[in-house]
């Protein structure tokens, strides 16, 4: 009897000891090596290569061009610097509109929708994310055309006397981008809103705060993480978008991705295109840094 017990005890302690020293591991480090090799060879190396290329002599070297000539041209030439500015401003405007439009929707789906409606909303948020990008742009092209539904509608209401040129304008670009990116914002806000302890709001209400005040002092601050995550994501995606700009902007807005596309397609100034890519990449990395910080904070 005691022998059996001792045996069990030894077994338990061996398992325990093993767990304490090093938890039993099904997967060794070897499991991650294929992925790491893949990314090292075809993700990090190419980006490094672009960095190197951006330091080569471009097609239009400025007088006395040194190692950083492409970057000097990008930041000192008022046209190119303007392009960087336009990229950032456009992304900021789109992000702001997504917040203003997305917050009420996220709030509604978390606080007011039944479980069935909630699932339906999720479906209708995700389905457009998977519809072809060209399709969505094409839809806006049809609606915003000179004789399109929007112009005809405004004219029949006598709001305008002749068709507005909506297509190939910044308005079309902003509409198109908000259309593509707003679901990301809503999903980020909704996921944080649904985690807020409702008793905090109840307490504020019971202590006499009005609905509006409760929202401003309790709900909004608590949902800031979701707002931040969504805003960074939307900003990042807007910065890199180019299909919408190409098809709806018609040259009315110049952004970095569009310029990269043109440099590649027509001018063929590859080192200069590489320098622009690196600037876009750095913008993305800054966003990524803030995103990781937010996620870290949420986890803590």
């Amino acid at each position: 009897m005691s022998g059996k017990n001792a045996e069990l005890e030894t077994m338990a302690s061996t398992i325990g000891a093993r767990a304490a020293v090093r938890p039993w591991r099904l997967m060794g480090f070897g499991y991650i090596i294929p992925s790491l090799l893949l990314l090292a060879a075809f993700f990090i190396a190419p980006l490094w290569f672009v960095g190197e290329m951006s330091l080569r002599e471009g097609r239009l070297p400025p007088p006395g061009g040194g190692l950083w000539q492409n970057y000097e041209r990008l930041f000192l030439d008022s046209f190119y610097f303007g392009v960087i500015g336009e990229t950032v401003v456009l992304s900021l405007v789109v992000t702001l509109i997504c917040i203003l439009m997305g917050y009420p929707v996220a709030y509604f789906m978390v606080r007011h929708a039944s479980a069935r409606l909630y699932n339906l909303i999720i479906f209708f948020l995700i389905a457009p994310l998977l519809t072809p990008i060209i399709m969505r742009t094409f839809g806006w092209q049809v609606l915003l055309a000179r004789r399109g539904l929007i112009n005809e509608g405004l004219m029949s209401m006598d709001l305008i006397s002749k068709p507005l040129s909506l297509l190939n304008s910044p308005v079309a670009v902003v509409l198109g981008l908000v259309h593509v990116l707003a679901p990301f914002m809503i999903l980020s806000i909704a996921s944080v809103l649904s985690g807020i302890d409702r008793r905090l709001e109840e307490s504020a209400r019971m202590l006499g705060a009005s609905r509006g005040k409760t929202f401003l002092k309790i709900t909004l601050p608590l949902s800031m993480d979701g707002l931040g995550t969504g805003a960074i994501l939307v900003f990042m995606l807007a910065n890199g978008s180019f299909v919408t700009l190409l098809l709806l902007g018609g040259g009315s807005l110049q952004t970095l991705p569009l310029l990269i596309y043109q440099q590649f397609n027509t001018t063929r100034d590859l080192p200069f295109a590489a320098a622009m890519s690196i600037v876009l990449l750095v913008l993305a990395l800054v966003c990524l840094f803030f995103q990781l910080r937010l996620i870290r904070r949420k986890g803590a």
Partner: protein
Amino acid sequence: MARLAEETRESWALGLVTLLFFVFLIFPIVVVVAVSFTSANYVSFPIEGFSLRWFHRIVEYEPFIDSLWVTIKVAFASTAIAVLAGVPAALYLVRWKSAVSEYLMALLLSPLSMPMIVLGLALLFYLSAIGLGISLTSLIIAHTVVGLPYIVRTVAGVYRGAPPDQEESAVILGASRWQIIRYVVLPQIKPGIFAGATFSILVSIDNLPVSFFFGSPSTSTLPVVMLSYLEHQFDPSIAAISTVQMLIALIGLIIIERFYGLRHLGTPE
């Protein structure tokens, strides 16, 4: 009573905003589907009459059909490679918790955060420099890099929710490493693999900013051909092919819902 009324009013107001938002979100897509059934020679909405002629037209237009095959080949091949590389990596990172593993996870997911146009340009330069150039192989490599994070993310999400008890029991009962993976872990993570693979396929099918750089008569994917078509012509055939492509995506979405549940996608980890 007053409070209840206030809440009802809020509910109605927000509901209205939500409804308007979804009209904004869905209407442009509905317009394209409608235009694809037009009988007119030109794009107009509302449509003049009903016909399937534009669907006939896309079947007859060779570049669309050729590029559709390229697209399907690339989507499935890149997803297969991404699954083979990504699944083990996700399994390892979930069970191995340390500061380093957190960074490795961030690295594996980082292609998601890169501007696609930068990634496309970088891969084109690099793959040309190492001699692969514009080829189907290059295209598949590029799409694998883009698809990998989707696999890693969904598989890690599912595996994280599976308690390690069953694996530990299997070890104690003397199962070999392979048996545990085959009979314990794989059934647990299957929904994650399916959902991640479906995602990776859908993202690959609709990828334009990366595919665009690898365009040539034999390597142009469907979106690349559609873009160049749209730059020269504006007729309902783009609407017809979009409708077909959307149908494929909807089927994919239903598969994801079945195996994984769309609700999980709403919550970023």
